[in-house]
């Protein structure tokens, strides 16, 4: 038994390979890729079916006598959205919010991600990473309630102001409070997406720029930011779409004053029991979000996500 001399891990792997050859013969190999894709395809399939139902719902008007959707197809729900200025206002507020949150989050995330990648101190890098991952352990709702405590009328900020003899301010239930809450929620996502993009820029690039006569501000503008473009696009798309569809922050920190479109959808389904209208609003949101993301990719090129390597 000469093969007994080989390490136990080799023999185990040999046994596993033999078992695999029986269970999944070589002629099945070309199906392996599809088999691995199957769970993802199944999930996406379910989503597409759900989306199909939403389209169907959105094309039926609510019958106010029975509180059921009418049989007949109509565009009444979409007409309602166009007719009522409140929906345009909510949509505008959502879009503006998404743009603001994206811009602020990415701008704040960039120096943080850069510090993680370039700090010479392992301690500093560890501290920055721990601080980055800690918020992920705390859900969005818990964090929003945390801000209620800090920013509330009798919260930490106002107590401090009162202690200094200053008048208290209403910080909560305003649009800026919602934006603030969303930024602090989105910041870790933006950083997480920027770190690999910045880590992919060799430090030599910055040193080369410096030795060619560029001070660090010029190096940043002409070398670091253009080379970080894939990360910047990726982070922006993720933060933008997450904000566009966010529900908890506007609901809790806005307190009804600064509803986003997701709140309007929720209200349609569960407050006024009009699933047709809710579905129509959802379709508007999905279409709008998809168009904007498609537009970004069209302008920036999908290659910027690093899918096809350097572009």
């Amino acid at each position: 038994m000469s093969h007994m001399k080989y390490p136990i891990s080799w023999r185990l792997l040999d046994a596993l390979e033999a078992a695999a050859a029986v269970l999944w013969p070589a002629r099945m190999r070309r199906l392996t890729a599809w088999a691995l894709l199957a769970p993802a395809l199944f999930l996406v399939g379910v989503l597409v079916i759900g989306l199909g139902y939403m389209v169907e719902y959105s094309l039926h008007e609510l019958d106010l006598s029975t509180y059921r959707l009418k049989e007949a197809y109509s565009l009444t729900n979409y007409q309602t959205i166009l007719d009522r200025p409140v929906y345009a206002r909510v949509l505008g507020r959502t879009l503006l919010g998404a743009v603001l949150v994206t811009a602020i989050s990415v701008a704040l995330a960039f120096p943080y991600a850069y510090a993680i990648v370039r700090t010479p101190s392992a301690m500093v890098r560890k501290a920055l990473l721990v601080a980055l991952f800690l918020p992920f352990f705390i859900g969005q709702v818990v964090r929003a309630y945390g801000w209620l405590i800090v920013l509330g009328r009798e919260g930490l900020v106002n107590s401090a102001l009162a202690g200094m003899g200053l008048p208290t301010v209403d910080l909560l239930f305003t649009y800026p409070a919602v934006i603030f809450g969303l930024v602090q929620y989105m910041l870790p996502f933006a950083i997480l997406l920027l770190v690999p993009a910045l880590a992919a820029i060799p430090e030599d690039m910055e040193l080369a720029s410096e030795s060619l006569g560029a001070r660090w501000t010029s190096t940043f503008r002409h070398v670091v930011i253009p080379m970080a473009k894939p990360g910047l696009i990726g982070a922006s798309v993720v933060v933008f779409t997450l904000t566009l569809t966010d529900f908890a922050m506007p609901e809790i920190l806005g307190g009804g004053t600064s509803d986003f479109i997701a709140s309007a959808i929720y209200d349609s389904f569960f407050q006024i029991s009009n699933p047709g209208l809710g579905a129509a609003l959802s379709m508007v949101l999905v279409t709008l979000g998809s168009l904007i993301v498609a537009g970004v990719f069209l302008v920036a090129g999908t290659g910027t996500l690093g899918v096809r390597g350097a572009k």
Binding site: M205, E210, L212, G213, A214, R215, M227, A310
Partner: protein, 376 residues
């Protein structure tokens, strides 16, 4: 042109560079060569301005530079991995230092064209780096480093990633451009052959210390210590003891052999020595041949490698305490070839055997030995 005076750099408890002193004349091509971790890259980074010396001074053109930020120094650098900006074309890469250094915008296109022509890339100006071959990328990098007329050009092993043929072509190309422009150049490499081919002067570094600075021929002919003798060229070493010494020659006993070595080192009778002999200076022949040189020892062939233009032998010499000597026999196809286990006689001239005072010397790691060398 460049004065480095007593420069040291310490990382934690490790002295990466210790008390380095050297100067480079205007227009000279100087190569700093040594194994990895010898401190050559740290020295280069300090000259470039990416790192500051803990002690000592660096002067360029008579001006003290070691506290001046890199972007204010007039130094062009070609990086090991080139560091071409991937989002810019070849022409934009070359124009970059001109823009950063506030050249007159009207002059920039002309200068870019001139330097792309100098490196023979005029027709590739609109290509991005990834659309260029390895050699073409090298040329863009050197054009970019030279276009603004720097006082000093630094090369950080830019040729190490190329295959052998291209590397040899680029060595000559770099040398041509350097001589055409007369730009003072400091090159860093671990490749002794590149150092010999390209340089006016070579500095050998090991353990953060400059071992020897000399022109290539002197360095090869007269290494000052065993490290340099082993690092440059293929050299066999064996221990011995001085029995007699005159200014012209040293007599050494090694094992059972009595050998004549080059004089001039003032070793003193009875001193322990390390003897060094280069592979190409040993003549290999049959044991019954007529004597050709002052020194002769008998050995047995242990290994034979045919490299085309030469045969490389490893010969065990029982009379030298079992030392194994590397021997190059040039033009092997026109005369005798010796088989493994065959007895042979090795001979060499007294002027080719160097006796160094024995002492702790840094070891040469095998990865830096040239191709064809055999372990001793």
């Amino acid at each position: 042109m460049v004065e480095i005076a007593g420069v040291s750099r310490v990382f934690g408890t490790v002295a990466a560079v210790s008390n380095a002193t050297l100067h480079v004349d205007r227009g000279d091509f100087l190569t700093v060569v040594g194994p990895s971790g010898c401190g050559k890259t740290t020295l280069l980074r300090m000259i470039a301005g990416f790192d500051r010396p803990d002690a000592g001074e660096i002067r360029i053109g008579g001006v003290r530079m070691d506290r001046v930020p890199a972007w204010q120094r007039s130094i062009g650098m070609v990086f090991q991995k080139l560091a071409l900006f991937p989002h810019m074309t070849a022409a934009e890469n070359v124009a970059y230092p001109l823009k950063m250094r506030r050249f007159d915008p009207a002059r920039i296109p002309g200068l870019v064209d001139d330097y792309l022509a100098l490196v023979r890339l005029a027709e590739f100006k609109d290509r991005r780096p990834h659309e260029l071959s390895g050699g073409q990328q090298q040329r863009v990098a050197i054009a970019r480093a030279l276009v603004f007329g720097p006082d000093l050009l630094l090369l950080d092993e830019p040729l190490s990633a190329l295959d052998r043929k291209l590397r040899e072509d680029m060595q000559l190309e770099f040398r041509r451009i350097q001589q055409e422009l007369g730009v003072t150049t400091i090159n860093v490499t671990h490749d002794q052959r590149e150092a010999l081919v390209m340089s006016d002067r070579i500095v050998v570094m090991e353990g953060g210390v400059i071992q020897q600075a000399d022109d290539p021929v002197s360095l090869y002919r007269r290494p000052e210590n065993p490290f340099v003798a082993r690092f440059i060229g293929v050299t066999s070493m064996f221990p011995g003891r001085v029995t007699a010494e005159t200014p012209e020659a040293v007599t050494v006993t090694a094992g059972e052999a009595t050998l004549k070595a080059r004089g001039g080192a003032a070793l003193g009778a009875g001193a322990a020595v390390e003897c060094a002999i280069r592979a190409e200076q040993i003549a290999i022949g049959p044991r019954d041949g007529a004597p050709r040189f002052e020194n002769a020892v008998d050995g047995i062939v242990r290994q034979r490698i045919f490299e085309g233009e030469r045969m490389v032998y490893a010969v065990e010499v029982p009379g030298l305490g079992g030392a194994v000597l590397n021997v190059f026999d040039h033009d092997p196809v026109s005369h005798s070839v010796y088989d493994e286990a065959q007895p042979v006689r090795l001979e060499w001239a007294a002027r080719d055997l160097i006796a160094f005072p024995a002492g702790p010397a840094p070891a040469v790691t095998t990865e830096h030995k040239p191709t064809g060398s055999l372990t001793t």
